[in-house]
């Protein structure tokens, strides 16, 4: 039996772990009285008995009892019955056992649900693609579901001919499919001054990554005969109530921006701009205008509400940085992360996500001692520009306290900064563009919490 345990890489918990956390705390703080002593004696007796019989307190399935695991020895009902027919769910749904992985609002963050955010459950994601139904949401005046036959897209301004396209037109045109991350400029905003939220869903969950399909904006601008001499900026405008507008500089507009109608192999979800949104790779999500109705070509920036009142970054000098757009290189460990609990000592795969708005991720280093020493993690392919990159690294937890961190480096050589380095330059009130290294503390019980270190 002990051989099997070794082979599976799982260790039994130390006997003191058989005590309740509150009891352990109470003994630590107040010492032993008769009541606690009695409790302790019984617990140790139980623990020793368990160890002796070899069944410990291990999780089901890790250590066989008697002849073995009843889940193997006894044929299960689902193996003895007829399963469900096809198209019982014409549009498939996740298993009912996955119901904990949901988009969530952060209580108290916003006061109006139509001008709010829901965070993606990064703690449960694998690989780099965000399932469409778990893509984070950010709406400025509620989300809408537009009949695609009724949707129109206009290009006007400094072009030879202002044009109108319907969805048929756009979907007939040459398309590209590209995988890109989208991150809200205010992702991790709560953490500028101090730790404020408990889990990676709330610290980093305004982040998603999908394959987007659509027409390159450059193709459409050329189709309208863009005035290449005069054009310096474009304005993107939404067709919803907020009619969201953002300025994009012409170099970027003619580079990799996509007028997208599809996401992850199907049409965009309504919450993500159905039937048309802008994809602006590497740039904060607010510029990825949803329910896109218009692009105007001009020669000056527009100072729209979300680039003149919000999405401006206050500096120590009292000046606001305007038109901050690029999401700089950043990473976060998603497992183990805040609010999670390691089940056992021994082997764990530390896994997380890294990204850069300036290109590809070149390297990710991981520390288990709060940044004193680092090891380089494995990058899983594909490693694409302005796209999430999954990293993994082996780790044996010895049961002692640890502080996990990840630090990404992009192809420009830029190294993800520490929170104190960001604060020194920008202060703590800039709200947006916090790309600091995230620290997760692990205590002796295996509980992971959000901390900041210096």
């Amino acid at each position: 039996m002990s051989m099997q345990i070794k082979k599976s890489g799982l260790l039994r918990r130390a006997p003191e772990n058989f005590l309740d956390a509150p009891l352990r705390q109470s003994i630590t703080e107040q010492g032993l009285n008769d009541e606690r002593r009695g409790f302790l004696r019984k617990s140790f007796a139980a623990a020793t008995a368990a160890l002796a019989s070899g069944v410990a307190m291990a999780r089901p399935g890790t250590v066989p009892e008697g002849d073995g695991d009843p889940l193997i020895l006894n044929l299960q009902d689902h193996a003895k019955t007829l399963g469900n027919p096809v198209v019982m769910q014409a549009y498939g749904q996740p298993s009912k056992f996955e119901a904990n992985l949901q988009r969530r609002q952060s209580p108290g963050l916003t006061r109006v649900p139509q001008a709010s955010v829901s965070f993606a459950p990064l703690q449960g994601f694998f690989g780099i693609i965000t399932p469409s139904g778990l893509h984070f949401e950010r709406h400025h005046q509620g989300w809408i579901d537009i009949d695609p036959e009724q949707h129109r897209f206009m290009i006007n301004g400094l072009v030879r001919e202002a044009k109108v396209y319907n969805m048929d037109d756009l979907m007939r045109m040459p398309s590209v499919s590209r995988m890109h991350f989208i991150e809200c400029g205010a992702n991790s905003a709560t953490e500028w001054g101090n730790v404020a939220v408990p889990t990676v869903q709330y610290t980093h969950g305004m982040l998603s990554c999908c394959e987007f399909t659509g027409v390159p904006l450059s193709v459409l601008l050329d189709d309208c005969g863009i005035d290449r001499k005069k054009a310096r900026f474009v304005l993107a405008e939404g067709g919803d109530g907020s009619a969201m507008t953002r300025t994009i500089d012409i170099a970027r507009a003619m580079d990799d921006v996509i007028v997208a109608y599809a996401m992850n192999g199907e049409m965009l979800r309504p919450e993500n701009g159905y039937p048309l949104r802008l994809v602006v790779p590497g740039v904060q999500g607010v510029s990825w205008v949803k329910w896109l109705r218009r692009i105007e070509v001009g020669d000056q920036p527009w100072a729209a509400k979300d680039e003149a009142i919000h999405y401006i970054d206050l500096q120590l000098s009292g000046l606001h940085r305007q038109y901050t757009s690029v999401q700089e290189c950043k990473s976060v460990i998603t497992t183990p992360s805040g609010g999670q609990m390691l089940l056992e000592k021994g082997f764990h795969n530390i896994t997380g996500l890294a990204w850069s708005g300036r290109g590809k991720v070149k390297r990710v280093d991981v520390s288990a001692d709060g940044g004193r020493s680092w090891r380089t993690a494995r990058l899983e392919g594909p490693v694409l520009g302005k796209c999430l990159t999954r990293f993994n690294i082996d780790w044996n937890w010895d049961g002692g306290p640890a502080i996990l961190q990840s630090r990404a480096i992009d192809e420009t050589g830029y190294v993800q900064p520490k929170i104190n380095q960001l604060r020194e330059v920008r202060g703590t009130k800039s709200i947006y563009h916090n790309n600091a290294i995230q620290s997760w503390k692990i205590n002796e019980e295996g509980e992971v919490t959000n901390v900041q270190v210096a």
Partner: protein, 343 residues
């Protein structure tokens, strides 16, 4: 040996391929039949944006007085009578001074000390206000204000901020003059590396690999009372894998039985607490539900609130003091607090 028929077929195939290539090349230059010219009226209908240089601004006018009437009817319920409300949206008015209007920089923004920034403290361009009100307000009925109404509402907001006089009538002809009085008109900078992909980063870290720090000090941790503010992690994590969500319910939670709850309300009435505290909303002091929301998850709530009830206090919710309630028994305070914290 060559077989002629095969070669002929190959040649044919190659010719076809060349033809195909030629026709593809021809089609890539224009998308025949795709899209159409926009009519001037279509462009006018959608091209509503107004730039900082007022390009796109339609002719029109509106007075502060007219603006106040529209404001009271359509805006004040969310933004407050004076644009100061922080209940539904962040405040629009407040935090600017006459000196700011003169200098073009809002002094309160410097030094990182301002807890709340209003719209008028931040916005540098009056066109932004006009454009946004025009395209997105009122909140539940966007784009329903007339051009003159947009001028009037914008004028009224600026008037509340002390930027234009009470008798001001704002129009396309004088808006450029208003721009010269915007309190934070010189408060923006584009000198940063976050505009362009090739921009220069402002923060530099190095990729040290070992002996990077002598000691690591934890500078910030989540306080105990905030642990359950975002829900219970066990319900937010998968039930299989190398980790589980922490179950905060396994920590001691005070459970109150129904009779105790009724007893709490009875005591609150008996001691006339409800003369000053609403069940939900503020009367003189905060509503019980507001107290519960503020102290939710705070493990010290019972101790600190008991003390406040016994000894009185002020400052936590405003300046109006709560008188000491030394005559209420400890056990009764506990019963009431159990009830209050469940509102």
């Amino acid at each position: 040996m060559y077989k002629w028929p095969e070669l002929t077929m190959l040649t044919k195939a190659m010719t076809m391929l060349l033809l195909a290539t030629a026709s593809m090349a021809a089609s890539a230059d224009n998308y025949s039949g795709v899209g159409r010219a926009a009519t001037p009226k279509e462009v006018a209908a959608w091209d509503i944006d107004v730039r900082p240089d007022f390009r796109g601004l339609p002719k029109g006018r509106g007075s502060v007085d007219q603006g106040q009437q529209i404001w009271d009817g359509k805006c004040a319920s969310c933004h407050g009578t004076f644009g100061e409300s922080n209940q539904v949206f962040t405040p629009i008015v407040g935090g600017t001074t006459k000196d700011d209007v003169k200098n073009g920089r809002v002094a309160a923004l410097s030094g990182n000390s301002q807890p709340q920034r209003t719209t008028l403290m931040k916005v540098a361009t009056v066109s932004t206000l006009w454009d946004y009100v025009n395209r997105a307000m009122p909140w539940n009925a966007p784009k329903t204000l007339s051009t003159d109404e947009v001028y009037a509402v914008t004028a009224y907001m600026l008037n509340m901020g002390g930027i234009v006089a009470d008798d001001f009538v704002m129009s396309d002809e004088n808006i450029a003059e208003v721009q010269k009085r915007m309190p934070n008109r010189l408060g923006m900078t584009e000198k940063h590396g976050l505009w362009q992909t090739s921009g220069k980063p402002d923060v530099k870290n190095t990729a040290c690999m070992k002996d990077c720090a002598k000691e690591v000090k934890i500078t910030s941790e989540l306080p105990a009372f905030a642990r359950n503010a975002n829900g219970n992690p066990v319900e937010q994590n998968r039930n299989v894998g190398g980790v589980r969500g922490v179950d905060l319910n396994k920590a001691a939670v005070v459970k109150v039985s129904a009779p105790a709850a009724e007893e709490g309300l009875k005591l609150a009435k008996q001691y006339a607490c409800i003369a000053c505290h609403g069940i939900k909303d503020k009367v003189v002091g905060p509503g019980f539900a507001q107290i519960a929301a503020k102290y939710k998850g705070d493990t010290n709530a019972e101790a600190s609130l008991s003390k406040k009830i016994k000894l009185g206090g002020s400052g936590a919710w405003g300046d109006i003091p709560m008188p000491p309630q030394g005559h209420v028994k400890d056990s009764e305070i506990k019963t009431m607090l159990d009830w209050i914290m469940r509102q």
